[in-house]
């Protein structure tokens, strides 16, 4: 299973499962990254972290360590 961290820029993926827990997981879900939603990986920050994705029609940035908890396909 791939995580969102490994997805190259410019690709769209579907979220399968969130493996994190506690506040971080809740926050990620509150922001709209839930099961079966489509996520478009837009770009990486100039220093390599965090990343910027498009989800539910808006731009969201998250750290790679958090993206790692999002399983996608």
């Amino acid at each position: 299973m791939k995580t969102l961290k490994e997805i190259a820029c410019g690709q769209t993926v579907k979220v399968k499962k969130l493996t994190g827990e506690g506040p971080v997981k809740r926050r990620i879900m509150d922001m709209g990254i839930t099961k079966d939603v489509l996520v478009f990986v837009r770009k990486t920050a100039p220093l390599g972290d965090p990343i910027e994705v498009t989800v539910r029609g808006y731009e969201l940035s998250l750290r790679k360590s958090d993206a790692e908890t999002i399983e996608v396909e």
């Binding site: 809740r26 731009e59 940035s61």
Partner: protein, 711 residues
């Protein structure tokens, strides 16, 4: 009977603009009790009995951030008569997520779909009446920018409030979930108000401990949670969140017609350049340079020079006419009425000089606040965090900490105040604590004096001072991050990057005005007190005829000098225990440039190199001037944190100076003594603090008492 309307919505949904339009100048800005979250209240224009409360912008009613808890507690405990839920029409899907939660509170909700003009411009259509029917609440299309629909929304809210209707939720989740919610509702019994039952039931299912604390006899719902988790193979909290978004997707499908064309918006185009892999850092540097250049050197300095030398100095030329400054005018006036000498001295030398020195910074700060307001509202601030996050989070800071620190090179007060833009509580506190380590403009004379007196004007002294400031921030960040005060879960950096928008002139000026006022009020009062105390301290003392007042008091004989004598031993291990250096350090608390005023170059001849350097470093790093201390106090808004910050800064300065003097002394051949031993020991302790492992996953320790108070 007055009506209370609460404005709720996501960040960046145009809530503040709308609030400003509704209330005009009838606003009261304060803080929610006990926390640094801003609270804004105002009366509706033309309706004295309608009070509008601007709640913090939040994404969800979860219990994890201060803003969310504040909002939740307010809505549950204070029960406003009606909620106006502001929804950003251009980003309706995620915005409705909060709406589904607000609709469960039992309080009448009127939904205002904002930025409808932008939605139409993009070619999309939101069917307002369908949305209204689907969600079961009054819905109005609004454009805060153009001013359409606002009246209608408020009128509907007032009607809903007067009808005292109970908001019923229309949305339902999957059958399994609904069954468990019903079961919990029954268990709740009469423990909570009837209309709030659903809200409480869902929160209990989400294992929300803070909600359970608010119920007298919280029922045990572990059975229902288990049933949910088994049915969905996920934790209950996620099940509910998922359900909400599934429901929203179904609503969106019916009520929003999207224009099919996928074209790049103007915002996308800007973002392509501004956060481009190669261009992002140069653009960032350019923007920062501009902010600094305009507020600290050109415009800001002209304005501040005028205020310092003109308004609060000798006077200035207005179109060729000489206008005397306030001190001159005041002195003439006091002479005219025949004021007693000491009172005149208190007013002119004490109060006006002291307060004036701070007010002199105001124009500079206003220029700066305009830039800050602009960067915040246009959306660039979020990109700054995005670009700089990688570097700053290593020191427990946020990408946005860069701005306060840059500004801190000019003046620490606006620097500390600029930390407001950092949402995360811990990052903000860390920024407030470390910003004043950067040498500010008023510390320049100290550096210049030491460099001239001791090091033959060597060019390396000033860069070294800056280097020490930056090193102090970095090292403090690493050390503090590991302390108990900053322990807890790493804050998630899951941040919205809002589309770029051109801010309205009104909004930018209003944000400047609010910041400016709060500075003048808070710092002004502290400086007033400090000025009086310093004045009294240097004019009262042991004169020829015993203790008393004298206009020309020798510094050594004054009360200030006595205090200096009494506490000089504290600084002896740092190499500068003399009366003059002690007084200078104390005066530095009123304003750092005062340090230089106490002595001239000659006074340093008895001092050794390490001692002079240690004296300079101590004055650069220790607690800043009273104005900045006031700013720290205000931004911390918590006595414990405030004293921790000041204590840490002074302690750190003492430690660094001790090491410089004692260990520097070793090289200079002073011999090895107790002081050197202590310095070595402290170095080892510091290195341990610096390199000890950082427990990333220690449990979240939100201060319960503080949250409880934050109604």
């Amino acid at each position: 009977m007055s009506i209370k309307i609460a404005l709720a919505g996501n960040p960046n949904c145009g809530k503040t603009t709308l609030f400003n339009m509704l209330t005009g100048s009838n606003q009261f800005v304060g803080n929610w009790p006990g926390v640094t979250v801003e609270k804004k209240e105002g009366r509706l224009k033309g309706h004295k009995d309608v009070i509008i409360i601007d709640l913090p912008g939040i994404y969800s009613l979860s219990p994890y951030t201060l803003e969310e808890v504040v909002t939740r507690n307010y809505l549950i405990n204070e029960s406003p008569d009606v909620i106006i839920d502001i929804v950003d029409g251009t980003n309706i899907e995620r915005n409705l997520y909060l709406s589904t939660q607000l609709l469960e509170l039992g309080i009448p909700v009127v939904m205002a779909v904002n930025m409808i003009d932008l939605v139409e411009k993009a070619g999309d259509k939101i069917h307002i009446d369908k949305l209204s029917g689907k969600l079961g609440c009054e819905t109005v299309a609004v454009s805060a920018l153009k001013g359409t629909g606002i009246r209608e929304a408020v009128e509907k809210a007032i009607v809903a409030a007067q009808a005292k209707a109970v908001q019923t939720h229309v949305h339902t989740f999957t059958r399994n979930v609904e069954t468990e919610i019903k079961a919990v509702e029954e268990k709740l019994g009469d423990n909570v108000e009837r209309r709030q039952k659903r809200f409480f039931a869902i929160k209990l299912l989400e294992k929300d401990n803070k909600i359970a604390e608010g119920i007298k006899y919280p029922p045990n719902v572990s059975f229902e949670i288990k049933a949910l988790e088994e049915a969905f193979d996920d934790d209950a909290e996620s099940v509910i969140t998922n359900e909400r978004y599934v429901y929203i997707s179904s609503v969106i499908g019916e009520c929003v017609t999207k224009c099919r064309k996928e074209k790049l918006t103007a915002s996308d185009k800007i973002d392509r350049i501004v956060t481009n892999r190669w261009l992002a850092l140069p653009i960032f540097a350019a923007v920062m340079f501009m902010v600094y250049y305009f507020s600290m050197t050109t415009v800001g300095v002209w304005a501040s020079d005028w205020a310092n030398n003109g308004l609060f100095g000798e006077g200035w030329y207005l179109f060729g006419i000489w206008v005397p400054g306030i001190p001159v005018l005041l002195e003439n006036m006091l002479n005219a009425v025949g004021c007693i000498e000491w009172l005149k001295s208190l007013i002119v030398d004490g109060i006006v000089a002291g307060v004036g020195s701070v007010l002199g910074f105001v124009p500079q700060m206003l220029v700066l606040f305009i830039f800050l307001g602009f960067l915040e509202t246009c959306g660039y601030m979020a990109r700054v965090a995005f670009i700089m996050d990688r570097i700053f989070r290593k020191f427990g800071l946020s990408g946005k900490s860069f701005i306060p620190m840059l500004i801190g090179t000019g003046c620490g007060v606006p620097g500390v105040m600029a930390s407001r833009t950092i949402e995360n509580d811990r990052d903000r506190k860390m920024t407030i604590m470390t910003t004043t380590f950067i040498p500010c403009g008023a510390k320049m004379p100290i550096i210049a004096l030491i460099s001239a007196a001791m090091f033959h004007n060597a060019g390396w002294v000033a860069p070294v001072a800056y280097f020490i400031g930056v090193a102090a921030i970095v090292l403090s960040g690493i050390v503090l991050k590991k302390t108990r005060m900053f322990a807890g879960d790493p804050a998630p950096f899951v941040m919205e990057l809002p589309p770029y928008r051109m801010p309205t002139v009104g909004n930018v000026f209003r944000s400047m005005w609010e910041r400016g006022c709060s500075f003048v009020k808070k710092a002004g009062t502290i400086i007033l007190l400090a000025s009086i105390v310093i004045w009294a301290g240097s004019h009262f003392g042991m004169g020829k005829d015993g203790f008393g007042f004298a206009m020309e008091m020798e510094l050594e004989d004054s009360a200030l000098g006595m205090v200096g004598k009494a506490i000089g031993w504290i600084f002896a291990p740092l190499g500068f225990g003399s009366i003059k250096t002690t007084i200078a350090t104390m005066m530095g608390l009123a304003a750092k440039e005062e340090v230089v005023g106490v002595f001239g170059v000659l006074d340093f001849q008895s001092m050794s190199g390490p001692a002079a350097f240690s004296f300079m470093v101590f004055n650069l790093l220790c607690a800043p001037c009273f104005a900045a201390i006031g700013a720290i106090r205000r931004e911390m808004n918590n006595a414990k944190w405030f004293w921790f910050a000041i204590g840490y800064q002074t302690g750190f300065a003492y430690f660094v100076s001790l090491c410089i003097y004692q260990l520097g002394g070793l090289f200079a051949g002073f011999g090895f003594g107790f002081g050197a031993l202590a310095a070595l020991f402290l170095c080892i302790v510091f290195l341990y603090l610096l390199f000890r492992p950082y427990k990333e996953n220690s449990p979240l320790r939100l201060d319960r008492k503080r949250i409880a108070k934050a109604k």
